[in-house]
């Protein structure tokens, strides 16, 4: 049975996926990987990029002796999963994504980036901002020693979003879909 890796979304953390992991653990190893700058995983002195998240996933597979894994990615985690499938096919068996937006234009990217502005988050959805700070400030990264890490992560993530796509359709929070990609 192939091991299964679960990847959370932007501004999420490993605890979000724990209830799903418990539902999937019957007969296979399920590994929840927390991405850099999220939850208790510190930021490092580098930009947040899908590529660097993917490198961290491969490093984790190496550490755990996992030669090949299936990967599920929620939202931004789906980009990491798809990137891994495209660049590390020897290590990735199958990929499933949920709520991973696939149609990007510069306008959509600008709007999504704006939604990650910590000032906007605090102003428009203060309860969400408080929840994020509780989720991400357990161990603040050194670059954010004077700023809640959720703020640093949300700002940095704005640069990790896809910006090139030929399609214009959008409705980022309308519905969720599961897309499963081939071996």
């Amino acid at each position: 049975v192939t091991d299964l890796v679960l990847l959370h979304g932007a501004l999420g953390d490993a605890t979000q996926l724990a209830p799903l992991a418990t539902r999937l653990g019957d007969g296979r190893r399920v590994v929840v990987i927390e991405l850099e700058g999220h939850g208790a995983t510190p930021l490092r002195d580098r930009p947040l990029r899908i590529e660097s998240f993917a490198d961290d996933v491969i490093a984790r597979l190496d550490r755990q002796g996992i030669a090949r894994a299936d990967v599920f990615g929620y939202s931004m985690g789906g980009y990491v999963a798809l990137y891994l499938a495209a660049t590390s096919s020897a290590r990735i068996a199958r990929v499933a994504t949920l709520a991973t937006k696939l149609a990007w234009t510069p306008e959509v990217a600008a709007r999504e980036s704006a939604m990650l502005d910590p000032v906007v988050i605090r102003t428009k959805v203060p309860r969400f901002a408080a929840a994020l700070e509780a989720r991400h400030t357990a161990r603040a990264g050194k670059r954010c020693s004077r700023t809640p890490r959720s703020s640093c992560t949300s700002s940095a993530l704005a640069h990790a979003l896809p910006t090139r796509c030929s399609r214009a359709s959008h409705s980022p929070f309308g519905s969720a879909s599961v897309i499963v990609t081939p071996r």
Binding site: L4, L20, R23, A96, A99, L102, S169, S175, V180
Partner: protein
């Protein structure tokens, strides 16, 4: 995430599959984990 963009993406994938979970909002906390788990179990089986 629109259905149209998902359909377009799946059509570009040899062997790709698409499953729609209707009336599901984006926040993960609002996703039906039982339904999602069933979908993933079936696909990854």
């Amino acid at each position: 995430v629109t259905l149209e963009e998902c359909v377009a993406a799946v059509r570009q994938l040899a062997g790709g599959e698409l499953e729609v979970h209707p009336r599901t909002q984006h926040p993960f906390e609002k996703v039906s984990l039982d339904r999602l788990a069933r979908s993933l179990e079936e696909f990854f089986a």
